[in-house]
Amino acid sequence: MSARPIATTREMAGIPTGRLAVWWVIASEIVIFGGLLASYIMHRLANDAWSVQAANTNTWIGAFNTFVLLTSSLFAVLAHKAAVEGNGKKAARLLLYTAAGGTTFALVKAYEWSVEISHGYTLASNTFWSFYYTAAGLHALHVIAGVVIMLIIAREAARNLELHRVELIGIYWHFVDIVWIFLFPLLYIAK
């Protein structure tokens, strides 16, 4: 009775079920971030004064985090390659590097926010900072969730189990990456 339903093994659309589902997850995430960022951009265009507030974000820290996140994505790709070759141990190790990148990102963000909050720029300071913390915070939650899932998958992959999941978390991680590629210029570079 431990057999999975036969439904889980079919592939009529020509895409493995797991990958198909991850793409649908990403499709729904795109509209969540899309709605938030569209709201931000409309406000930003209507409020020139926000550039004064935006000047107080730290572009260098943002750039460093961009670098960290992009590098971690490279490891996700290499992990996928190892998983395709059937090398679960190597895939798990590379996933740990990816997770380390995600953790670094979150820690740097925590430092950055504590500096900003100590300078008096809080969630409720004004609408620019509200958007800043909400958008980056929602993204950071995705980073943290990704790291947790990645650790679970790495643990199984190390035993050569469920190797196809390495690809799935990789797709998700790239999505998290791309969201940041939108956030970084919108929140940091545009002054």
Partner: protein, 570 residues
């Protein structure tokens, strides 16, 4: 199916149940799609009872202002606001969505696609559990200090954002959390539905061999997925405004209240089609089987539904014509809104053409299906007045609007549900429903329904505004003939609610003593009728069916029988 991996957090919300281990596992923590469908169905029906009771309480206040309402007491103005708000919220998010999409989707997709379960059974169970928690949170919000949220189901700020206006400091936030949790549950469910229908159909089932109801639920799930995102972002923002002092929607501090209306209606209008399409699908299946006719223009109906879905993303600002949007913008949305009536009318015409020349069996499911088309057409036609920005300036926020959307949502959520429920009842429970009781229930629902809402059209056209607690305070709206129509609507509501007891009695009697249902009592073609009634775990036994033709081959000229099941080779 034994569980090898426990789902985290799965064991908390039913902790109070102490039944036999097997019963709990089978009915509360099952991953079987049919059990989960029933969980959604019965939760939805229980919520419908609450929502109907709320309607009774506030309608009594409108008909007999200040009277002590039996079973409720005197309705205060704060309670009135909370009742109308939560009536709307419950009926849309906790009745229409779980019953039409989640219950029918869960039950029908694997059976009609000829497989043994969903592709993600445990995700499916988690989806129901989150939904259950969301219902608990919503009910909890009625009992906190200040009472349940009273800012209308659309939750416009500043009323929803500021406790000093809404006077429901905790109710508003709990309401928002409940709605957000419900969205998460349906996102999970929707991904499961779409992936299952895409990837695990019976061998040979091409995309034009899929029964219309499955297509409609899939399209609705995709619409939901594509539209709910901005509102999830908006819900986070509104929650921060309520609890953390941000000002996303406060113009005094650089925010914009109209932004919420855009985020809400960008979701809210596609949401109409999210619940409409599954009901349209149910009706398509019922009229083909009961009319013994092939669905007229299968592909036209399908592409029309997809077209409606795309178009539904371009009409949302017709809810905001008097919110101060640019009149040039209003013109654009008038045009798109009037355009969207074309595909829906086209679908209705296809259904009528299906009925033409058929040999109709006027049993309970068919009566519901036919009345769906009739009542929904009234809802659609009255929508034209509201979609035209000029006419809407007068009609906006009157009872005309209210009657209009009840003429769309009632056919969807109630008539469509009853059509599907009575049609698939033999499959779900293995017994036939009592036809006499079914017809009494049908006429006892459909006649009072029209007597509730036709007077409200008249009142709305006479200028009666919505969301007013006591019309005695507005002499020009408290004329005797207007009050008479209010009383007529309220009494009709009570009659209609009373006739629902017939339905519950019918369910009880039919489950106990109904005639045993054969596997295929209606001589229908689709795959769910191949499985035994009720289908066992795994649905079809060892060998899953294969498909050789489309779902609606009734009265084929080359066949002596008037139906031609999908799974029969020739």
């Amino acid at each position: 199916m034994a569980e090898t991996i426990a789902t985290p957090g799965a064991h908390d919300d039913h902790g109070h149940e102490h039944h036999d281990e097997g019963w709990v596992k089978k009915y509360l923590f099952s991953t079987d799609h049919k059990i989960i469908a029933m969980q959604y169905m019965f939760t939805g029906m229980a919520m419908a009872v609450i929502g109907g009771f709320f309607a009774y309480a506030f309608r009594m206040q409108l008909a007999f202002p200040g009277m002590e309402v039996p079973l409720w007491g005197v309705v205060t103005s704060a309670e009135y606001n909370s009742l109308v708000t939560n009536h709307g919220t419950i009926m849309i998010f906790w009745v229409a969505m779980p019953v039409l999409i989640a219950a029918f989707g869960n039950y029908l997709i694997p059976l009609m696609c000829g497989v043994d379960d969903m592709v993600f059974p445990r995700l499916n169970r988690l989806s129901y559990q989150i939904f259950f928690v969301s219902a608990v949170v919503l009910i909890w919000s009625f009992f906190v200090e200040g009472g349940g949220f009273g800012g209308a189901w659309t939750a416009y700020p500043p009323l929803s954002a500021k406790a000093e206006y809404s006077l429901t400091p905790s109710g508003a936030s709990l309401w928002l959390i409940a709605v957000a949790l419900e969205f998460v549950a349906f996102l999970m469910g929707g991904i499961n539905f779409v992936t299952t229908a895409m990837n695990s159909r019976a061998k040979g089932m091409g995309i034009y061999d899929i029964p219309m109801v499955v297509w409609m639920i899939v399209i609705a799930s995709i619409l939901f997925m594509a539209s709910v995102g901005p509102l999830i972002a908006g819900a986070v923002m509104l929650f921060f405004d309520q609890q953390l002092g941000t000002a996303f929607f406060d113009p005094a501090q650089g925010g914009d209240p109209i932004l919420w209306q855009h985020l809400f209606w960008f979701f809210g209008h596609p949401e109409v089609y999210v619940v409409l399409l599954p009901a349209m699908g149910i009706v398509a299946d019922v009229i083909c089987v009961m009319g013994r006719k092939k669905l007229f223009a299968y592909r036209t109906v399908l592409f029309t539904a997809i077209g409606t879905g795309v178009l539904s993303f371009t009409v949302w600002a017709h809810h905001q014509f008097i919110a101060g949007i640019d009149p040039r913008m209003a013109h654009v949305f008038t045009i798109t809104t009037l355009l969207i009536s074309i595909p829906i009318a086209e679908m209705c015409f296809c259904y009528i053409a299906t009925l033409y020349g058929g040999s109709l069996t006027l049993n309970t499911p068919m009566l519901w299906a036919l009345s769906f088309i009739a009542t929904f057409l009234i809802g659609g036609v009255t929508g034209i007045f509201l979609g035209a920005s000029g006419a809407d300036i007068y009609f906006h926020d009157t009872y005309f609007v209210l009657a209009h959307f009840h003429y769309t949502f009632f056919p969807i959520a109630i008539i469509g549900t009853f059509a599907g429920f009575t049609f698939w009842f033999p499959k779900m429970f293995g017994r036939m429903m009592n036809e006499t009781l079914g017809k009494i229930h049908f006429w006892g629902t459909i006649i009072p329904f029209n007597l509730i809402f036709l007077p409200l059209f008249v009142l709305g056209a006479a200028g009666q505004h919505r969301r007013i607690y006591n019309y005695d305070n507005f002499p020009e709206l408290a004329l005797p003939w207007m009050q008479d129509l209010r009383i007529l609507a309220t009494l009709s509501l009570i009659v209609m609610l009373g006739f629902q007891l017939v339905f519950f009695y019918n369910c009880y009697v039919s489950l106990r003593r109904g005639k045993k249902a054969p596997a295929n009592p209606w001589n229908a073609n689709t795959l769910e009728w191949l499985a035994p009634s009720p289908p066992p775990h795994g649905n079809f036994g060892d060998k899953l069916p294969e498909v050789y033709r489309g779902p609606y081959e009734y009265n084929h000229p080359d066949r002596s029988e008037d139906f031609w099941p999908q799974h029969v080779p020739n």
